[in-house]
């Protein structure tokens, strides 16, 4: 909300409306959203118990947020190999970037994660995603003037992703510090940022030269279609038993 308010002020800096009036308008907008969020949370807490909007944050362990260095180490190890002296996160089994982003979000795992693609498919998707990230960095560097011209839109898209991930990691850290040390995260929680992913892929594809652009764009769409149908087929075949 603060990012949105700041962006609104920044974008409207050349308008004839006085600065004070714009600041008041932005503050009123943020306050309205804040009131709506608090009201929704209060109503949900009063009526939905542990499944309320804030249930994962308030219903879990109290110790999680008291250990901020542990939280930082947990987030680091979620994405990267542990550094020296880092303590492994509580809980059993490995759950990190590959499991969340590659297996459960980009590729898919179904029927409460019981039905999965062969591991080779996940490995391929991980390689493709890694290549995509490299190309994205190159695309940003090459088209920096375009990115800069649309910095406000980029900031909003980044805010969607970063705020969601921050909230999810916080809630997951709370659960990991609970009595069962349970993993909370699942790929479906990333569905709100599908549009961000789509916009990013479109930007990367658009940067590439003609034939490569056409081939890559077509390949990505065909792959998405194939994975969609494949997921349905795998799930139906599961009813074989």
């Amino acid at each position: 909300m603060l990012v949105a308010g700041a962006l609104a002020l920044w974008r409207g800096r050349g308008s004839p409306v006085p600065v004070r009036a714009r600041a008041l308008g932005a503050a009123a907008g943020i306050a309205l959203i804040a009131v709506a969020v608090v009201a929704a949370g209060a109503y949900s807490n009063a009526h939905a118990g542990d499944t309320s909007l804030t249930g994962e944050l308030t219903g879990s362990s109290e110790s999680g947020l008291n250990d901020l260095s542990g939280f930082v180490e947990y987030v680091w190890q979620f994405y990267f190999s542990p550094m020296t002296n880092m303590t492994p996160a509580p809980g059993e089994g490995l759950f990190g970037y590959r499991q969340l982003f590659v297996e459960q979000f980009l590729t898919g795992a179904f029927a409460s994660l019981e039905v999965k693609y062969p591991d080779a498919v996940y490995r391929l998707m991980q390689v493709l995603q890694g290549l995509g990230l490299v190309v994205l960095i190159g695309a940003v560097a090459r088209r920096w003037e375009v990115v800069r011209a649309h910095l406000a839109q980029v900031a909003v898209l980044a805010a969607f992703l970063l705020s969601l991930m921050a909230l999810l990691h916080l809630a997951a850290w709370q659960d990991l510090n609970g009595p069962e040390a349970a993993h909370l995260l699942a790929g479906r929680y990333l569905l709100p940022v599908v549009a961000v992913l789509g916009a990013t892929v479109a930007f990367v594809v658009d940067v590439l030269p003609g034939r490569v652009r056409a081939g890559l764009g077509a390949g990505i769409l065909a792959l998405a279609a194939a994975l969609s149908v494949g997921g349905v087929a795998l799930t139906v075949v599961r009813f074989d038993a």
Binding site: R211, G219, A233, V237
Partner: protein, 230 residues
Amino acid sequence: MRRVAIVVMAAVLLVAALALGRLAVRDRPALEFVATPPPILEATPIELRRGAAACQQDVVLTPRSRVIRTWSGSPTPDVPRLRVTARADGWSTTALSPERTDLPGGGADGVYDTRIEPPPREVLATVCVQSAEPGRAAILAGSEEPRVKTRSPTRVDGREIDARMGLAVLTGGPRSPLSHAREVLERAAAFWPAPAGWLSLGLLLAVVAVGVPAAAVYAVLRSLREETGE
């Protein structure tokens, strides 16, 4: 550009079609019933020392039931043979798991497939599993995961335990999903309200299987047409 896009899409969709075809015709274990699913994420070992037996009640067995499948929870492939006993009103059978434990279904690969004499009629049986080798404990894979549901708890020597022993019934040799596609669809649509059923599910799947790739192809071709101004 158009040709490149078409070639790439055709290649990706062809590979996907071949993979789907393989999924449909590849033989799989002919599971008849799953009394208790195997562990999903985390196995709880059920150790059966000398003479101890793990039992489950209300296991459906039919004249088609030929194999009782359980899962090994042993950390090593050096596993003992199992003795499986099934009892129902007026009927019982006892069988040993395969003599060679290192062959598929012998336990070393994590799966015990024990062939049984099927009952003459459909019965609700009590199935018990124990080590068949004196002095060697058997370790079976159980689960305490909430998502692993079962009709009856597992009892070891009559005492109920928290872990639920994975137990399934097979009809014998493997078969492909395509060979009994209607049965698969009927199971998938079991809880669909009438008049929807296996046929409407099958039609819906066909629409998805054709429609989703077709929509992707249409989107690419149309975007290329707009880009080139054709």
